[in-house]
Each structure stands twice: as C-alpha cells, then as structure tokens.
C-alpha cells in the first residue's frame, strides 16, 4: 500500500512539469520551433524509434526489421562504445590500482604521473584523439577509456589502502600466505570501493560518449541530436535527450543492482 503511495507521489512532479510544458505550448507562449510540445516530441520519438522502411522479408528477419529504426541503431552504437571504452579503461585501471594500493613502491612510481594527468578532463583529449585515431569509433573509445580509467583507478587504490589492518592481522594469524591474503582478504575487502569507482566510471563514460559522438563519430545519440540541430528539429533533439537519459538510467540501474547483489554482505549498502 505504502509502496503504491510512494510511486504515486513520485509521479506527481513529473506530471505537473509535463502539464506545465504542454500548457506553454498550447497557449502559444513559446515558439514551437524552440520548444515543441510534449506531444510533438512523443510523435517524433516514435518516428525516430520505428523502422524506416516497410517490412520486407527479402531484407531479413522480422526481428531485425523491428530493430532497424534509427534510434535503436544510435542507442546500440552509443552503448557499444560505452561498454568497450569502459572495459578497456577499467580493465587497465583495475590491475594498476591493485598494484598501487598494495605496493608503496608502485604507488611511488606511478602516483606523480597520475596526479598530473588526472585533472585533465577527457574532453581535452579530443584534438589529440582525432589526430591519433582519425574519426569513427577509435577516438571515441579512446576518450571513453580515459574517462573510465581514473575513477576506477583512484577508487581501487583507496579500496586496497583502506583495508582494515585487523583483517590482515587475522589472515597472518591464520597462517595465510601473501597471495592468499591478497586474493581472499584484500581483494574482497576492496570491492565496495571498486564498485563505487566502476559506477562513477560508467557515468563519466556516458558523458564522454555523447560529446565524442558530437565531434568524431557520425552515428550514435550524441551525433543525432547535433545533427537534428542543423535542421532545427528541436523535437528530435529533445527526443534524443530523453533517450540518452533513459539509457543512462538503465545502465546505472544495472550497475547498482549488480553491486547490491555481489556486495550483499556489505553493511553500508541500502537494501534495493
């Protein structure tokens, strides 16, 4: 009962905002080219979503046709770049972070360079990335990797460094080798931090993918909304923005569900 009440109250403000927006448009208080009505956005969104051509069995299966719409194509393209960049950036950051957290020597060697590079926003790498990789997926994936790298790195280092020393004392008391201490104590103890880093990295990757598509790629959600501006299709811009928002929400939900499941032992987590 309470659950339904919460859901109902959660929908109130969005509904009011929508009504207000619709009213602005209906009364003609705003120029429809600048701010189209919600209805108009919805119509455009549907057109953007559905397949461009009529179903033709000669072209492929029905399922393939269902997913042949421009929006699906763009969303999958963006998602692919996010996941690939995240995997590369996070995949490099995780072992380095573990090594830096565990070994003072490695930390001392790498930290100065990391501290210099870290404040550079991934966006600032755009010129270099185009110079190095040209246009298309490679520069975008490069930028996203950089965006994902640092959050995973910093959190992994912190996670390993903050392992409560009492656990290591217990490990030594039980006779654990250094390898066992690392794999069975340090690594699991650091996972809450690592997951936090991964979640932040995912968010950064998602920002960077939109920006990089506006500059270096000729498909994807970021490209599409910039393209729409050229034609003054503000309804398509807004439809694209909502799609970006929904995709981001979807990714974050998956990440948060995953970490709740994998960290079910962890005290600090809210029950989702």
């Amino acid at each position: 009962m309470k659950k339904y009440r919460n859901a109902a109250s959660g929908i109130l403000v969005p509904l009011a905002a929508l009504a207000f927006w619709q009213m602005l448009s209906a009364k003609g208080w705003v120029n429809a080219t600048i701010l189209p009505s919600p209805m108009q956005v919805l119509v455009k969104w549907w057109a953007y979503l559905r397949p461009l051509e009529a179903f033709d069995p000669a072209q492929g299966s029905y399922l393939a046709w269902c997913f042949s719409g421009e929006l699906i194509h763009d969303a999958l393209g963006s998602l692919y770049r996010v996941l690939l960049g995240f995997a590369i950036g996070g995949g490099l950051a995780l072992p380095l972070g573990l090594a830096m957290g565990y070994s003072r020597l490695v930390y001392g060697l790498f930290n100065p360079l990391i501290q210099v590079l870290r404040p550079i926003p991934p966006i600032a790498y755009i010129p270099l990335s185009i110079l190095w990789f040209g246009l298309g997926n490679p520069p975008a994936v490069f930028l996203i990797s950089i965006g994902a790298f640092f959050p995973v790195l910093m959190n992994t280092v912190a996670g390993v460094q903050n392992v409560d020393s009492i656990y290591l004392r217990v490990g030594r008391n039980l006779g654990a080798s250094r390898f066992t201490q690392f794999t069975r104590i340090i690594l699991p103890a650091a996972t809450p931090y690592i997951f936090t880093g991964a979640r932040i990295a995912m968010g950064t990757a998602f920002i960077v993918v939109i920006v990089s598509e506006m500059i270096a790629v000729n498909n994807g959600l970021g490209y599409r909304i910039l393209e729409a501006r050229e034609y003054l299709w503000s309804d398509k811009i807004i439809a694209g923005m909502f799609t970006i928002g929904l995709l981001g929400l979807g990714i974050d939900t998956v990440m948060s569900r995953l970490s709740t499941y994998l960290l079910k032992w962890h005290r600090g987590l809210e029950q989702g």
Binding site: I166, Y167, R169, V170, R172, N173, L174, G175, A176, S177, T180, R184, I185, P188, A189, T191, K264, W265, H266, R267
Partner: protein
Amino acid sequence: MSGSANHISVSGVHKVFQSGGQDVYALKAIDLEIARGEFVCLLGPSGCGKSTLLNAVAGFSLPSSGAITVEGQAITTPGPDRGMVFQEYALFPWMTVEQNIAFGLQIKGAAKPAIQEKVDSLLGLLHLQDFRKRYPKDLSGGMRQRVAIARVLALDSPIMLMDEPFGALDALTRRNLQDELLRLWLELKKTILFVTHSIEEALYLADRTVVMTYRPGTIKRDLKVDLPRPRDVASPAFNALKKELSQLLMEEQSRHNQDEFKGAAVD
C-alpha cells in the same frame, strides 16, 4: 613435544616505544611461565602493556629484547599454532559464518570433506547451526564472537590468545560466553592467555590472574585463583579476592590518571 611443563615462556622481555623523543617502556623485564592447559588472565588498566604482551606472544610485534618461546621454540611470526580472538571480532564480512570458520582450514590445505566435517562439528559446538549461511552483519555481537572463537578452534591450535574478547558485549551475553569458553577450555584442554580489564572476569575465568603495572609495564602480582568452578561471584571468597585485586588495580589506575592529567597540562 618438549619435556618442559611450560607451554609458553616469557623471559626478560622488554618492549620500548619512542614517544616525543623519549623511550617509553610498554613492557619491562617481564617473566611469565604458563603451563600447558592453564588459563591465565592478564589484568590491568589501559596502557599497562597487557595487549602489547599478548601481541608479542601472538608474534604481531616482537619484543625489543628478551625471549618468548612456545613449546621451546622462539616466536618470530604470527602463526596458526596461536589462534587469536580479537575484541573487534574481526570476522571477514564478505564470508558467511561457515566460510569464516573454514578459512583457516583452507589455508592449511585441508581436504574438502574434512573441512566440512570440522565446520559442522564447530557449528554444533558453539550452537551456530542455524546461522551457517548468514553474513556477520546479520549477527549480534555475541554471535559474532562465537564465530570468531569457532574460527580459532578450527585451527586446532593448542594455544588460544584472547584480547578483551567479551569487552564489547552486554553483561548477560558476556557471562554466557564466559561459561561457554570455560566449557570449551575444559573439553579441549587449551592453554589460554586472556587479556581483560575486568577484575570479575579475570577471577571468574582464570587459574591465574596476572596484574600488570601502568608504564613501565611490569608484573605487579601473579595471583593463583584456587576457587572451585563454577565460581560463585557472590561468595565471600570471590569477593575477598576481588577486593584485593581492586586495590592493586586502583593504584595503577591513579598513576594512569595522573599521567593523563599531566599530558593535558602540557597541551
């Protein structure tokens, strides 16, 4: 096994810390012999070095000079022959109750069926059967300390070191676990070195209560507690001993307090 009756032998142990450019003797000239199967409590105010001594026996921080031997062997590192129970429970939160108990056996390289059997019997021994799949966060303090004890018992170590293990528990849970510990001690014939600041706890549990002094940490009194078990905390004999120990402890506590006030004055 060595022929000597003494299981743990501490002789001429000093432990020196540097503090503000000065040498602070956490332990000074400690001699302590503990027989096999003996239950010894170290008692004293905070800062008296009782935990330092326990950590030295555990091998976590070696003495500055002097020797600690177990079964005639000098202590150089921590090891599973001296299982330790910590005040903060220190259960691995990412492991379930049974995984926590099994961990030491896995490190030893025991076979899976043997581990399972041992874990099952320890779960029974400590009345933890219904909690085997739980994570530590879902357990009460008393339950957690039961798991910590089971984890150490799994090692089959002849010695148990306990660092104020029941200090954070409420009075009833505490008494309950004290009784459990005595039962296990009698059944499994462990040598136990137990740190506490509670006079009553020391007198309730120990064969011998060793009172330590505040800085430098020395042994002020080594008292044999000859009362029959189970001990009646309300009996006149118990209270006579309690009174005697209180007096000793109060002297040390007041030195500790003076030191703290001096420290405050300097600040």
